[in-house]
Every structure is written in structure tokens, then in C-alpha cells.
Symmetry: C2
Subunit: 353 residues, 2 copies
């Protein structure tokens, strides 16, 4: 059966002051459609029913994870003692799923990305699940780039992959975030897609590759699961204490031969910064506001407030966010650097970080 695993272990600082140590990006309502994790689940639900939707999150985030509000069984929420990047998180979920459904096909996705064209997304994940089941290969979703972003990883397409599911390609290679010249070359070539972070695989394939490429992660997850419910939390804490921290991309996908990519134009954004939120929501050069905001003579400006009035006069290309007891003002172009000042905020105003 099809399963989906939503990876909700992130601890973003780039959306300060809305994101805080105690409230990561995936629990924010950035687009106005509700908390991102709920949007992610709702986007999947017509393809994968609630009883086969899974979340992997940190124990510290348990207060944000009401099964009722999220619409899935409590046992489908897996809590990691600490964050160890994506490979252990996926390994934990895949192992739990495989014990209940050895024939599972699994989609794994970040909890905090945005999809503008949900219909296109659902079409491509249906194809991707079929492709992963048919071939036993890893399948990644690629996003045809619209501009030479230096903030995303890229996937180079190889040969078209023949078979029942149309539109797939062999992966020629994964690349890290490129510099601008490289990103421009990628865009011109027409052979590169952005790495959306969504990938699909059969449980048996995953188990095989995990034992081969990440044997320590495999062993520690097995140790934790051995012995049933009783004492599981304690065993998991023990397993995570020495768990390597490694991403699924680096630990498995880049080592695996034969991975496929399905390109999908689905209005995807990783919403990595205030700027990318503004780009996702607004028209080019337009303003985007949330809450009680007065704008006069502004252009290309994002203003959000969760209470109280924010009046902005004569500003361009600016981000203004008021959240609770904190306000941020910066140029759109400096959105990447917000995480940098959160360090100073942690030192000087720990309650506000």
C-alpha cells in the first residue's frame, strides 16, 4: 500500500520572529492556509489516506502535534529524541511502516515546503508511487527551474526512462547548491531540475540500501524497534545518542545507482526565506500583507503582523514582520541573513529567540 512520511524535524531560524526555538517553520501559517505541516498532510490525503500518513518530528515539538488537528492516528506520529538530519528520520519511519506493511511504497516529503499547483503535485506523486513500485528504484521529484537559483540543489536528467509511467528520466547526477554562473548554465542547458526534496521508494528497496550504505543507522534503528512498545522511547533515546547525523540525499541517494527523476511543474517553493515567501505569494513588484497593515507608496514589500497595526510608508523591497513581542525589518535581499541575527538574539534576549 502507499504511505507518506512527512519530515517535520526542522528547526528554522530564517523566519524569525515568527519561527522561534519553540515554534519551527513547519508549525507556522506562512501562506494563510494554516500551519504548513497541516497543509502538507492535506495535500497528500486524496492520494494517501490518513491511516497511512506518518509524521517524524522532534519530541520537543509534541505540543504542536495534535493528532486530532492534524487528522491522523496518534501512533502515526513518530517522535525523535533529537534531530539527526533526514536519513535516520526516514529510516525510523520506513522500518515502522515495513513491520506493518512489508509491501509498502513510501513517499517522503519535507513538512515545510509550498506547492502552488496542488493538482499537478497529486498527479505526479501518483505517477511516482507507481514508478517506484514497478521498478523498485528510488524516484525523486524534480522541479523545472524558473530562474538561476543559488539556493537549491539541482538534479541533472540523463536518458528518458522507458516503461508504463511516462515522463521519467535516469538521474545523471545530484549537485549541491551552485554558484550563480553555474546556476545560469544549468538553466540554459534545459537538463537540470531543482531537487524538491520529495522522493519515493519501496520499503524493501529502502531496507536493502540502508543496510548497505548506512549500516550504523540501520543497526541502531533495528535495536530500538526490537522488543515492541514497552521501553521503546528509552531504547530510541539510547539509539539516537550515538546516531550519525546525515541526510538521505548524501547518505543514500547520491550513492545509489539507477535513481529516477520525475520533473513536475507544480509551483513548488521551499519557502526558505521571507523573500521566497514573498515571491511565492505576490506578483512581481507587488506588496503582500497579512493582518492589520497600512501601506502608503510601497513597492515589492512584505508586511505581516499577528496583532497591532503596522504602518509602512514609502518603502521598497522591504520585509516587516511583527510577531508577538518582536519586530523584524530588513531588505528582501537580506532575508538569508535573518538566521545570522538570531544568534545575537539568543544571547541577548533568549526568551525572544
Amino acid at each position: 500500500m502507499e504511505h507518506a512520511v512527512v519530515l517535520a524535524g526542522g528547526s528554522g531560524t530564517r523566519f524569525w520572529p515568527e519561527s522561534r526555538t519553540s515554534r519551527s517553520k513547519q508549525f507556522l501559517d506562512l501562506t494563510g492556509g494554516g500551519p504548513m505541516i497541516r497543509e502538507t498532510l492535506d495535500r497528500l490525503r486524496p492520494v494517501v489516506p490518513s491511516e497511512r500518513l506518518w509524521i517524524v518530528a522532534g519530541r520537543k515539538d509534541a505540543p504542536h502535534l495534535s493528532p486530532g488537528a492534524l487528522g491522523l492516528p496518534k501512533r502515526n506520529i513518530l517522535l525523535e529524541p533529537d534531530g539527526r538530519n533526514t536519513a535516520p528520520a526516514v529510516a525510523l519511519a520506513a522500518a515502522v511502516i515495513a513491520r506493518r506493511d512489508p509491501d509498502a511504497v513510501i513517499l517522503a516529503t519535507p513538512a515545510d515546503h509550498a506547492i502552488g499547483d496542488v493538482r499537478a503535485f497529486r498527479t505526479v506523486i501518483r505517477k511516482g508511487l507507481r514508478l517506484a513500485r514497478d521498478t523498485g528504484r528510488f524516484v525523486t521529484l524534480g522541479v523545472p527551474p524558473t530562474h538561476p537559483s543559488t539556493g537549491y540543489g539541482y538534479i541533472e536528467r540523463g536518458k528518458p526512462f522507458p516503461g508504463r509511467v511516462k515522463g521519467a528520466f535516469a538521474v545523471a547526477r545530484f549537485t549541491e547548491k551552485p554558484d550563480l554562473a553555474t546556476a545560469r548554465r544549468f538553466l540554459r542547458s534545459g537538463r537540470f531540475d531543482w531537487n524538491s526534496g520529495v522522493f519515493l521508494f519501496r520499503a524493501d528497496t529502502f531496507a536493502d540500501r540502508l543496510s548497505r550504505f548506512l549500516p550504523e543507522v540501520d543497526r541502531r534503528i533495528r535495536d530500538a524497534l526490537r522488543g515492541g512498545e514497552k521501553g521503546f522511547d528509552r531504547r530510541l533515546s539510547e539509539a539516537y545518542r550515538r546516531m550519525p547525523s546525515i541526510s538521505i540525499d548524501y547518505g543514500i541517494l547520491e550513492k545509489e545507482q539507477g535513481t529516477l527523476v520525475l520533473p513536475a511543474d507544480m509551483g513548488w517553493s521551499d519557502l526558505g526565506t521571507w523573500r521566497s515567501l514573498h515571491e511565492f505569494l505576490g506578483e512581481k513588484g507587488g506588496n503582500v500583507t497579512f493582518g492589520d497593515v497600512i501601506l502608503a507608496d510601497c513597492r515589492n514589500t512584505l508586511v505581516r503582523t499577528d496583532g497591532g497595526l503596522v504602518a509602512v510608508l514609502g518603502m521598497e523591497d522591504t520585509v516587516v514582520v511583527r510577531c508577538g513581542d518582536a519586530v523584524l525589518v530588513c531588505p528582501r535581499s537580506r532575508s538569508e541573513d535573518v538566521k545570522g541575527i538570531v544568534g545575537e538574539i539568543r544571547r541577548r534576549y533568549p526568551a525572544l529567540a
Copy 2:
């Protein structure tokens, strides 16, 4: 004896969100030295003792006018039913003072200006009081301009005025706020001072000119004062209902022949906008902050908060003010336009205006 009248009838909107309908500029602590009206009184006190310090303010501002906090007798606080510009305010105070002290020499000053060099200010007002007493003329304080401001009125100096008090000139003319080309010409000529709004006169001189130049104001103030304490408030309301609204500059000083100007380099600013506050407090190009503020890579920026944290990253020439439940962001160069958006705030968020 010497008396000083502090004119506190203003109702500024240019310092929104700190100034509100219910809290005018003169009651704000803009420079960090306490409410402006108290700073103004304290600045005068070594020259004019508390029992001869007077305030003229609006009845609506009575809650801000605690005699204890301001350090002057309750009867020295004169409350106008409504604002009618400065001529009726000065006329009211001058008439009340003259009844108790017919030989009074009076200094009148706005409540909401800033003086950087208080010692120079005290020196010049001592001279001014002596000059007004000796000559029976109106004396104004001029400020040698430091830049071609288009936001101030100017006074052209005529011939040096001979006598015991050195440094005074006959006033050749008062001018309105000039355009930039004119302001530059004024600055180059070396013959012009900014009009500080501080002026000095003998009570008998004032009474004479008021009856001559503004007979209606004179008559209505007399009517209100006739008959003692009992029913005074009611009679004053009656008098103000039909009181002309006119400034002392326009109504008397510009008609009067023989007015003198005493130039004084005393670090004066009318603090007319957030920008001028920034210029008064900061070094050229420097940042000025009040409250819990984190700045990173900012230049020439003013940031104030009365609660909660404001983090500003990578901004130049910007004003950010958080006060209570409102936030303002604008370029320094648009400070003049803040009053313009207060109209929209009044309509849409009356509680915040």
C-alpha cells in the same frame, strides 16, 4: 518680575505612533530626558522660579498636566477650552500674569522644542529678558542656520541695536518657510536666523499691542477674566467659542515695528519630524536607538521601541518606531509624510490614531 509661559497646546501627528490624539508631542519623551514639557520647564527654572512658570494647554490634556510632576503651582496651569493657535494662548497668560504682576516681563516658548546647549539658552534668555525690560520692545530669539532648511521660518537681521545688552539686532523682516533656493540664499547671506518661536516682552507692551492689532482677541480674553474665579471656566468657554484662531507671529510680531532679534547658537531644533529627532540626537550617518533594539549592518537609522524587541538588519536611512500596539516603518526622507497616513489610521483604526 520675570515670568515664562510654556505653550503646550499642540496636537502633533508627525510623531505617530508615539504621538496619538490623546497624547501630543509635548508629552512624549523623545530625547530620553523625560516628557518634553518637563524638559522645557526644567530648562527655564534656573532663570525663572517655579512660581512664575506658566503653562497654557488644552483642557483635553489635563490628565498629562500633574502640577506635582511638572513642579509648578496648580493655578499656573491655564487650560484653554479649544486650541486657537498661539495669539489667544499668549494673550490669556499675559492677562492673568499682568493682573498679579503689572510690571512683568514675559518669555513665551513652545513646549516641544529641543535645546542642545542649555547653558547658551539660559545666557541668551537672561539677556533677552533684560533687553525686553529695558526697551519695552518685543525680542525674539534667532538661531543661526546650519543648513538651508525649508522647514523653518527665517528672520532677517537689520542694524545692530545699541545699548546695555550686546548682540541684538533690529528685525528687518520675518519670512515664511522658504523654498530650497531661497533658503540657500538666506544661508549664504549670513543675515538670516531661524525663528525659534521663543519671544520676550513686557506685559504692558503686550497689552498695548494686543488691543491695537488683535482687538477681538483682547476683548474676549478680558470678558472671560472679568468677574474672578467663579464661573471662569464657563466664561472662558464662551469667549473661545468665537475666538479667532491666529498665531502670535502673524497677529502681532509681523505687524509690530521695532522688534529685536537676539541670535543664539544653542543647538536648537523644533523636532518637527522623526528625521529631525534623528539629526538632533545622532552623529551624521550614525544610528540612534531607544529600547530593546538589535541592529546589524544599519546606517543612519532611528529605531525606537517602548516594549518588545525590534531587530533591524541591513537598513539605511530608515525610521522604525514601535509604540504600544503600533509600528511605523518609513525612510527618513518621508518623515514629513507621517502626518498624512495618520488620516487613514484615524478612519480605519481610530483607537490607534
